[in-house]
Amino acid sequence: MQKQQRLLKELGKISRLPPKGISLCAKDEKLNILEANILGPENNYPFSPPSIKFLTKVYHPNIDDNGRICLDLMKMPPKGSWKPTIGLEGLLIAIRMLLESPNPDDPLMTDIAEEFKSDKEEYIRKAKLFTKEHAK
């Protein structure tokens, strides 16, 4: 009894005033099964950095197999240094600079970072090979 009464109240309130990105509805008469939908948070640009990833495979200490980029500017403070004044242009320039000069001290790919530090010639050879193969 309490269950029904209370659930009806809760369902009523949530359908009248649904919290942002949340919906809830009953799937059966006895209110034994409820279905909720939660929308993931939207990117809140420019208050948070945009998500950027490479579509082209890159052999680079700071770029992983899925194209994710490890860049200070693309993380929120205090860990990162994103600021709303940077903008897309600034970010893309920074990413181009990262391609030019990798940062092996904050690596995403430890093997490649190790190689970059110990055997730079081998690293450059492999990077060139990757570029020839993927960056067309």
């Binding site: 420019p46 208050f47 403070p77 205090p78 709303p84 004044t85």
Partner: protein, 353 residues
């Protein structure tokens, strides 16, 4: 005998020459009641009514007696309604309106709504400005909307349309100096309001690279010195404040407001509007450097970084949202938050919107 009916119940009309059938209204205590009666074979029958009429059967054979009885019955059941007599009311509204239309030729546009409950008009004043007016009509005439700056006295109720119009004209007359002042201010580079209306009694005008001045004029006392408020970097604003305090005594109440302001602020002229914004820049001086625009939900950037080498502008909403999203570096203190300027990273504070 039947003539008596016409005298007593003028809204009842005979349906034929025999005068044994009548249709129309009987007026009881200010209310109109629709009936349709017939006398057949010396008996009165009520064929139709728009109210709950008593059933008397064959009690009456005389039309006048029947109507009198009906009248008394309705009168006993109802209470007198005050001025329920609509026709008189409409006659009054129409005569006021027609009289008004005849005598006031400087009215540009005047319309009476088909149900006689509202009048809208447009009036050109001596400066060629068009003022508009909306009047609701019930027992009196009431101004419910107008284009002038708000004034409580204007919204009172008038028994005559002419009196109302005279009062409105008087207000327009009284406001002429105010309109001239605002038009004079509009020759400067106005940042806000975007499209001024006669109700807007302030102008935010650009006076320097990144300083603007909000001039607020009291429409009904516009010969006073207007209220002045600066927006911009503190060091520049302080300088302007200093100039005001030393020059205020030279303000000429008869002079042109722009000339007086130029004199007051020790400027040569006011900057003219930059017609073309710099297309290569994402945002211009004075724009918010978070949302890259001047206007956000109608608001202008109110916050200016106090660091002299930064002096960037922010909308309160934008800066607040940024400071809250960085969280850790932001501290709340009473009704403001303190954090780092997103441009120069020096301390900045922001009121909680």
């Amino acid at each position: 005998m039947e003539l008596q009916i016409l005298f007593k119940y003028p809204l009842l009309l005979p349906k034929n020459h025999n005068l044994n059938e009548f249709e129309g209204y009987i007026n009881v205590q200010g209310g109109d009641y629709k009936i349709h009666v017939q006398r057949v074979n010396g008996q009165i029958t009520l064929l139709h009514s728009d109210f709950d009429a008593p059933h008397w059967g064959n009690k009456y054979s005389d039309m006048v007696q029947y109507l009198d009885a009906l009248y008394n019955d309705i009168a006993a059941k109802t209470t007198p309604t005050k001025s329920k007599n609509d026709s008189e009311h409409y006659r009054h509204v129409l005569s006021e309106y027609l009289e008004f239309r005849e005598f006031y030729i400087n009215v540009k546009e005047c319309r009476l709504s088909p149900d006689l409950t509202a009048i809208t008009m447009k009036i050109a004043d001596e400066g060629g400005r068009v003022q508009s007016l909306k009047i609701s009509v019930n027992t009196n005439f009431n101004i419910i909307e107008h284009s002038l700056p708000d004034k409580k006295e204007l919204l009172t109720s008038y028994t005559s349309l002419t009196a109302l119009y005279e009062k409105f004209l008087q207000a327009i007359e009284e406001l002429q100096p105010y309109f001239y002042i605002m038009e004079s201010l509009d020759t400067a580079w106005v940042l806000d309001p975007e499209v001024p209306t006669p109700k807007d009694n302030y102008r935010r005008i650009a006076i320097d690279h990144n300083v603007s001045l909000i001039v607020t004029v009291n429409p009904w006392m516009c010969n006073d010195i207007p209220q002045l408020q600066f927006m911009g970097p503190e060091r520049l604003v302080d300088d302007y404040h200093f100039r005001i305090s030393s020059n205020l005594s030279n303000w000429d109440l008869q002079g042109n407001i722009i000339d007086e302001l130029v004199k007051l602020l020790e400027m040569e002229t006011f900057p003219v509007k930059q017609v073309e914004a710099d297309e290569t820049a994402l945002y211009n001086t004075g724009d918010c450097c978070i949302c890259f625009s001047l206007r956000l939900n109608g608001n202008l950037p109110e916050i200016n970084c106090k660091n002299p080498s930064c002096e960037q502008f922010f909308h309160t909403d934008c800066l607040y949202q940024w400071l809250v999203s960085v969280g850790t570096k932001t501290k709340r203190c009473f009704n403001e938050v303190n954090g780092e300027c997103p441009n120069c990273e020096k301390h900045i504070s922001c009121p909680i919107p």
